[in-house]
Symmetry: C2
Subunit: 196 residues, 2 copies
């Protein structure tokens, strides 16, 4: 066996990535050390930089390196619309449709009782306060059309209705069971137009 | 859109890992930043440490942090046997069998003309010199039983035969614990030819 302290540590660390088992981690470590050390150095610096500087926008909760993200600060966005999505990737998918010009609230997750993720973890209180601030006229629920995404949308909708608001939901043009970031942009755009 | 310079850079850097596309990279970045920053810091340090300290054993070419790896230095190993494997992971698999007590030569790859990997990249000259050093009595070819692994074994065998040596190859055969009717026919045919 080779002397593999730093190598074993690297393989163990790579297994901290979601979806990476021991075989994949071995392949990744071998590839980086044998064929692409610059990529290893680049990834090392990118991880440190992101872990040190990326936090959550204090208004919409998405990832940003500033106190408030550029979307929330953008004066051209329609402040009367607030779109609720699960993740920054979902937000990116919405943006790429070019069909939405309002603001966002990014939950950074979804209700998942089995994983211990409840309303407090997703900032529902802050979302409800935001929805009632007098500026927001419409809340569009764009959580994923999965069981957990639907449950999340349902609980948010109930909370908003209790405050006299009537949220809309992306139309079911989005195939049931799929996740937004994998849906083609035209479908998302139609679902936005047909929101109910 | 969020302000994602450090985030975009991280996603781009994660795509430098083999088998990781943009969707996987987004999921990894989200997971690390949202749920496991210690894992991000740990991976960052492990990458830097490995890239800085891991190089190749000057005798067997496997990864090590020293000039010569602990296997090559181990006085209890049988110096008359030299096992040729493709990667450190293959070497580990051989070690875990507990059935081999000799030394190794780790090619750190396999012949792959389409990828520009030739005999010089795999250290064939050094392997042939080693095999002829008078200490080595048997060279066991344990490259993978894939098209490229077989081709690599063939070329090494030809080189050794030209020097008057007769290498051995791991037997091809029916995997232990498997039932004949589920084994592919090529494997059965090889097992029949290699019967003992
Ligand atoms: Zn924001
Ligand atoms: Zn060695």
């Amino acid at each position: 066996m080779s002397d593999t302290n730093a190598l074993d540590t690297l393989i163990q660390a790579l297994r901290g990535l979601p979806g990476v088992g021991v075989k994949s981690a071995q392949r990744m470590a071998f590839h980086l050390l044998q064929h692409d050390r610059p990529a290893a150095q680049f990834l090392s610096r990118a991880l440190q930089q992101a872990a040190d500087t990326v936090h959550h926008c204090e208004r919409c909760h998405t990832f940003t390196q500033d106190a408030v993200c550029s979307t929330c600060l953008d004066e051209r966005r329609d402040r009367s619309q607030l779109c609720v999505v699960e993740t920054p990737a979902d937000q990116s998918a919405m943006e790429r449709t070019g069909a939405y010009k309002g603001l966002y609230f990014v939950l950074m997750g979804k209700l998942s009782p089995l994983d211990g993720v409840g309303p407090n973890d997703l900032g529902f209180k802050k979302l409800f306060d935001r929805a009632c601030d007098g500026v927001v006229q419409e809340v569009i629920l764009a959580t994923n059309f999965t069981a957990e995404g639907e449950a999340t949308a349902y609980v948010i909708a109930e909370g908003l209705k209790a405050r006299g608001l009537r949220p809309t939901r992306l139309a079911r043009g989005v195939p049931v069971g799929s996740e937004l970031e994998y849906v083609d942009l035209g479908t998302i755009a139609h679902a936005l137009v047909d929101r109910r």
